[in-house]
Structure formats: structure tokens, C-alpha cells
């Protein structure tokens, strides 16, 4: 246990690690026939590697990394559309830094910026609003990206823009929701998933009830978890305990932040501004029903798709993935990053093929940084 002593509470961690090992034994899981627990959120993937939780827990327990990195599931065609908007004269294109290095078919946003497009990394949609106020002669577009954790922020920014009549501000909305892809993975006969560690901050917004179908319809346990190593260990133990006892429930390990009903103000803002799209494309998962959001007609003046006649509403583009890239399989937990033929060869953090290698929440980036796999590849 080489990492436990670094934890804030090593004693508690040791107790949890021991209890996890006992539960894994009790349910008869072994290296040949492991129990598969998917952590949905990319932040959890990152924490698991940083703290070496995959090494601390017995080999009979396998973490499957889920699709919960919003930048990683972005199809290349979305990045292309961002660049098309950004390259129009008079546009100031604003985005979270995470999206800058995601490869499009021709280039990434960072390359487009180097080529002269006015692309600015902002911390918050509030800063994009402020840019619109300060630059009335420019069109300021914000790249609305992320799961339910960030959706309320762009919804509130759009409401604010409407109140101020800030007609040079718009959002290129690519927000997505967590529950639909989980359903797709559960419906996939090739996936073996015995339980889930649920996302903490998405759940802080939407609450725990949207996961009811996982327990009710699929008979799988899910435990909403915090981000500290102790949180994650405790949540894994809760999932294993449910499996051992033959239960399948939605449990909340992160109740100190996550109310079961979510945050009503955030939910109201999301509903006011957004509506589900009939379908939306995910990199690696394909089209998923009702998994993306678009801006409602009443806010169409602030919808970059309307303003620029671009985006999902106006025409689907199918873009081939680069040769030999296995992003889709890694994203859905079918294979581990090192099994991608490009890992460390055609794809590195400096010259990435997929977003999984450059997003701080991407599984390939996590393996590269912490997995020791870099040496293996070199």
C-alpha cells in the first residue's frame, strides 16, 4: 500500500481497502472473473489514478472508465463547427481552456487561434458576457460545453443576456446529459457492468432520482460519490455491499453536497432555457436519443446555431475518426487506453489524436500521467 500513507486519513483508508478486499472475496470475484465497476465521471477517473486506487484495491475489482468527460465525447465535427464560427470576421469566440487542444478534422481551436482567429479562453460564461458588453461591435460567442454541472451557468448567462438585451452575445450549445449514455451502455450486450460510481457534481445539480432506472430497470447498484480518495473507496465499498447482498439501489455517499432533489434553482434555469434535442452525436457512442440540449425558441436571439446557420440543427456531418484511433472503445470502457494502437505512438499529449489524451479528465491523459504506461510505450 504505497500511497495510503499520503492520504489525509490513512487509518480510515486502510480500513476501507481491507473491507473492499473482503467484499470482493465474498462475492467470489477474481482476476479471471472480476467485478466491473464503472466510474462515470472523468474527475473520478483522474482521482482513481492520482491516488492509485486501482492498485490499492484487489485485482478481482476492475474499474471501467466511463464516458463522463464532456470534452472527450465531443465529435470532431463539433470542433470543426466551432472553428468555422470563430473564423468569421468580427467574431470573438470564447471557450473553456479544456476544449482548446481537441483535434478537429483540419485543426484544433488552438491552431485556429494561431492562424489568426480571435479565440479566447475564458474561465466562466460571465466573462464571455463581459466581453460582449465591452465589445459591442463584435459578435461574442460562448462555446457551451459540459454536462449538467456547467449547464446551469450558460442558462443563467443567457437569461442575463436577455435581460440586458445584449444582442451581440450568443451560445454555441453543445451541452449533454449524463443519464442517456448510461442507458446505452447498459443496453449494450458486450458490456459487463456490475455497478456504478455516480458523478458527484452532476448530481449536485440534478439530484439522485434520474438514476432510478439503473437500479429499477437494470438491477444494478449506483452510488453517487465525492472526489476525495476516502469518498471513492467508501462508494466502491457501498456498491460491492449492494452486490453482495443482492440489492440494487441508488445510494448517495456524497449527501453533504448532493441533495436527492438536486438544486431546484439550477434545474429551473436549465428548463427555462434549454430543451432536449431529439438526438445528439457522441464520439464513440454515436447518436443517442434525447442526450443533448438546444436553446429554446424564446432565446433564439442568443443561439449561435440560429445566428450563424451552423451546428446540429442545420445539418449532420459525418466525420471519419482518424485511422487506428480507438477513442470510442476507450470512452465506453471496452478497452484500456494502452490497448489503443496509437497510445504513445501516433497519439501523445503533444500531438494528440483524440481528446481523451488532452483533457484533464480523459482516461488516456490519466494513464499517460500516472499509469506508468508512458514508459511502456517509450
Amino acid at each position: 500500500m504505497k500511497y495510503v500513507d499520503e492520504f489525509r486519513d490513512p487509518k480510515a483508508a486502510k480500513v476501507l481497502v481491507k473491507a473492499i478486499a473482503e467484499k470482493v472475496d465474498a462475492i467470489g470475484a477474481t482476476v479471471e472473473k472480476p467485478v466491473h465497476i464503472m466510474e462515470i465521471c472523468g474527475g473520478h477517473t483522474h482521482a482513481i489514478f492520482r491516488y492509485g486506487l486501482d492498485k490499492l484495491t484487489p485485482p478481482g475489482l476492475e474499474f471501467i472508465h466511463g464516458p463522463g468527460c464532456p470534452v472527450c465525447v465531443l465529435p470532431m465535427s463539433r470542433v470543426d463547427e466551432c472553428i468555422e464560427i470563430a473564423e468569421r470576421p468580427g467574431v470573438i469566440f470564447t471557450t473553456f481552456g479544456d476544449a482548446m487542444r481537441v483535434p478537429g478534422t483540419r485543426k484544433s481551436l488552438i491552431q485556429a487561434k494561431a492562424d489568426g482567429a480571435d479565440i479566447r479562453m475564458v474561465y466562466s460564461p460571465l466573462d464571455a458576457l463581459e466581453l460582449a458588453r465591452r465589445n459591442p461591435d463584435n459578435e461574442v460567442v460562448f462555446f457551451g460545453l459540459g454536462f449538467e454541472t456547467t449547464t446551469p451557468s450558460t442558462a443563467l448567462a443567457i437569461q442575463q443576456a436577455a435581460r440586458e438585451n445584449l444582442s451581440n452575445f450568443s451560445v454555441f450549445c453543445n451541452h449533454i446529459t449524463v443519464p442517456p449514455p448510461i442507458k446505452v451502455l447498459l443496453d449494450d450486450p458486450h458490456m459487463v457492468l456490475d455497478g456504478f460510481v455516480g458523478p458527484g457534481h452532476v448530481s449536485m445539480v440534478i439530484g439522485t432520482r434520474p438514476y432510478d432506472f439503473i437500479a429499477r430497470d437494470y438491477g444494478k447498484p449506483i452510488v453517487v460519490a465525492g472526489f476525495e480518495p476516502i469518498d471513492l473507496l467508501q462508494s466502491v465499498l457501498m456498491v460491492l455491499t449492494q452486490i453482495a447482498e443482492g440489492r440494487a439501489e441508488v445510494e448517495n455517499q456524497y449527501a453533504r453536497i448532493v441533495p436527492d432533489g438536486g438544486n431546484p434553482v439550477s434545474i429551473a434555469a436549465i428548463e427555462d432555457v434549454y430543451q432536449p434535442r431529439p438526438t445528439f452525436e457522441w464520439r464513440g457512442l454515436g447518436e443517442i436519443d434525447a442526450s443533448g440540449l438546444r436553446i429554446r425558441d424564446k432565446y433564439k436571439d442568443f443561439d449561435a446555431e440560429e445566428k450563424f446557420g451552423i451546428g446540429y440543427a442545420t445539418g449532420r456531418r459525418v466525420v471519419e475518426e482518424p485511422e487506428g484511433c480507438a477513442c470510442g472503445e476507450v470512452m465506453t470502457g471496452r478497452i484500456k487506453p494502452m490497448q489503443c494502437p496509437q497510445f504513445g505512438k501516433g497519439c501523445t499529449p503533444d500531438i494528440p489524436l483524440g481528446a481523451l489524451m488532452v483533457s484533464s479528465e480523459g482516461a488516456c491523459a490519466a494513464y499517460w500521467q500516472y499509469g506508468g504506461a508512458r514508459q511502456a510505450a517509450e
Binding site: 474527475g43 483522474h46 464532456p70 466573462d127 451557468s153 438544486n263 434555469a269
Partner: protein
């Protein structure tokens, strides 16, 4: 972007738009507090919140704030958040 960062509300700066000044480990930053303003805006002063992309999303206690900060620092996420904030300030001034 998804992990957020804890901060303490210092003062309410704009009642009409629910803006407040938050102290994030010594860095002061304007945040929107709409999602946590259920108890009234003035009640928020001195409280700890979890901030995601400039929006306070949940009330937390001081102990939770401290623990979260430690974890974020260990993950390298705290540094990334600060870098994003400074970068954004430069973007506002056109110095990108």
C-alpha cells in the same frame, strides 16, 4: 471545469444580477450566486460555496472547503482553475 473550487463569499457586489465577490485561497473573484441564494443574498456573506465556472453551485462548510482544496491541489486541478481565471482576465483585456 467539472470539479469546481471552494471559495468564501466576501460581499454582495450587485443585487440585481446576483453577483458577489468570493475569496478563493486569496484570489478574489466575481461569482454569480443565484443557485445558492435561497436564504437571501446578505445571508451569504461569510459563507463557503463550491464554485463551478464562476457560479456558486452549493453551500459547504469550512471543513469541507479545506478538504476539497487539499484534494484539488493534489489532483493539480486547483492550479488549473487559477490559471483559467488569470487567463480569462487577460482575455477580457484583449491580451490573449
Amino acid at each position: 471545469m467539472c470539479l469546481g473550487i471552494p471559495g468564501q463569499i466576501v460581499k454582495i457586489t450587485d443585487k440585481a444580477t446576483n453577483l458577489a465577490l468570493a475569496d478563493v485561497s486569496g484570489v478574489q473573484r466575481q461569482v454569480n450566486v443565484t443557485c445558492v441564494a435561497g436564504g437571501g443574498l446578505e445571508d451569504l456573506v461569510g459563507k463557503w460555496v463550491l464554485i463551478h465556472v464562476g457560479f456558486a453551485m452549493a453551500l459547504i462548510d469550512e471543513d469541507e472547503a479545506r478538504k476539497t482544496m487539499e484534494t484539488l491541489t493534489a489532483l493539480g486541478e486547483a492550479q488549473e482553475e487559477f490559471e483559467a481565471m488569470f487567463q480569462s482576465d487577460r482575455a477580457l483585456e484583449g491580451r490573449t
